[in-house]
């Protein structure tokens, strides 16, 4: 039922409390959304699950406790991660960036190149010179190379042109048929289209858990939790 179960996750960075107890369940199918305002703690939650920041509490992937493991072992359990700041290596070429991400014996380059033909074309270009959107493609492409059990995408469509957003949304939808996805996203239209369950964070805590469609339909709740009305497509979220 739940693939990833997070309980009472807490993060303290350099003396400041960033997370005060986050609970989160990621279903073993489809897309689970993680929502919240800027600074609510979404990225920190994701990083804590991956062991990229010091944390306490529990995070279980298919029943296996992750918090005792170093990041690389957590990831080897089959997690694909699209970081918020894209995390491409500017000094390496596109091909090298992808090569680094290879974990499986037979990485699925056809899928990546089909979705982002641009990356095939720019194989030898230094990733640092890519446009913002192209870098985002590298970041997403990396997770698609390997057969993963879970994909965590932190604002994957940020900076992508509308047409590509639509394509990525399609791709995520397709991927989610096989692999569950934890999606952090500000683009509520996209969330509405993809996500089943959702968790909303506020001030480093879980503020709400439920069904995405229900939340977005519940005008007062959405306004309280996300600060936006939902009766019309919110301004700024195409």
């Amino acid at each position: 039922m739940t693939l990833l179960q997070v309980r009472d996750l807490r993060v303290v960075i350099a003396g400041s409390h960033v997370l005060h107890g986050v609970d989160l369940d990621v279903a073993d199918t489809g897309v689970t959304a993680l929502l919240g305002r800027n600074g609510a703690g979404k990225t920190s939650t994701v990083k804590a699950v991956l062991g990229l920041v010091p944390r306490t509490g529990s995070a279980r992937l298919a029943g296996r406790e992750l918090t005792a493991l170093p990041t690389y072992l957590i990831v080897r359990h089959g997690i694909g991660y699209v970081p918020e700041d894209r995390g491409v290596f500017p000094g390496l070429t596109v091909a090298q960036n992808l090569r680094l991400a290879e974990r499986d014996a037979r990485p699925d380059y056809p899928l990546v190149h089909q979705l982002f033909p641009e990356l095939k074309k720019r194989e030898r270009q230094l990733a640092g010179t890519l446009s913002g959107g192209q870098q985002q493609m590298v970041a997403i492409g990396r997770t698609l190379l390997n057969g993963n059990r879970l994909i965590i995408a932190d604002e994957p469509t940020k900076g992508l042109a509308p047409k590509v957003v639509a394509e990525v949304a399609d791709a995520l939808a397709r991927v989610a048929e096989r692999v569950p996805v934890l999606l952090v996203e500000q683009n509520l239209a996209l969330v509405r289209r993809l996500a089943g369950p959702c968790t909303v964070l506020a001030d480093g805590r879980t503020a709400h858990r439920g069904d995405t469609a229900e939340l977005l339909a519940d005008e007062p709740a959405a306004r309280r939790l996300l600060g936006v009305g939902t009766h019309r497509p919110p301004e700024g979220s195409p």
């Binding site: 690389y72 997690i79 991660y81 290596f89 000094g91 680094l100 991400a101």
Partner: protein, 288 residues
Amino acid sequence: MGTFVLLACTGLGLGALYFLIAAGLSLIFGLMDVLNLAHGALLSVGGYAAWWAATGGGMSCWLAVPFGTAVGTLAAVLLELALVRPLYGRPREQILATVGVGLAVPALLAGLWGADARPFPQPAVLAGTVRLLGAVVPRDRFLLIAAALLVLLALRLFLARTRYGLIVRAGVADRAMVTALGIDVRRAFTLVFAIGGAAAALGGALAGLYFGSVSPDQGPGLLIFAFVVVVMGGAGSVTGAAVASVVVGLVQQFANYYSAAGLGDLAVVVLLAVLLLVRPGGLTGRLA
């Protein structure tokens, strides 16, 4: 003609020595971004271990040099695990710690075997000279050149055939992200550091052969030129370092011989300054 050939051959030999010393430095500095000021100490460890094996341990020279390399590699691994590993991403403190090791190890060697140079036994095969186009060239220069070529080839293969070069370079730029790709960065760093250390120790052992002696501050003394070579070649580019070594060796040898006051060293540093001012990326153009 004879003089020219002699200068060219010995210049190449010197370049080979510089490359042997610089190769490890280039790897560690260029890929890992660690300004390893303990590199000289690794050289000394390699040199002394080989010397000890050849004199006290009774090994033949052909065994002593690999033995020295092995000991130096071990020392590099220990150094990385104990000292450098906790300090990635803290370059200033890396400098402090590696300077510390760079001071302590030669001092320790001086304490153990005295501050003076110790003769390094030379196998008879290497002791002689070769007549070449009117020049009398010492044989050991050719050994150095061969060793340098081998090291160059090995490093290039290592970087081309494995992902380690990529991992370490990426790890320097964003360590967390590399681990988030499921890669054990720490192991890759240790491995690359060990390879750099092995190259250094080999350089140290062969330097003992070259100088005919080992002394505690031989390693640190050669380090400046190794740094020059690394920077000239463009950090992280092993081939660049090889080219730069040859350039530096030749320039130094010719300038020493032909300029009135033997200005080889000065010529090299001036060359470095000019090169960097004109091409900040070094010979290979990779941003240093």
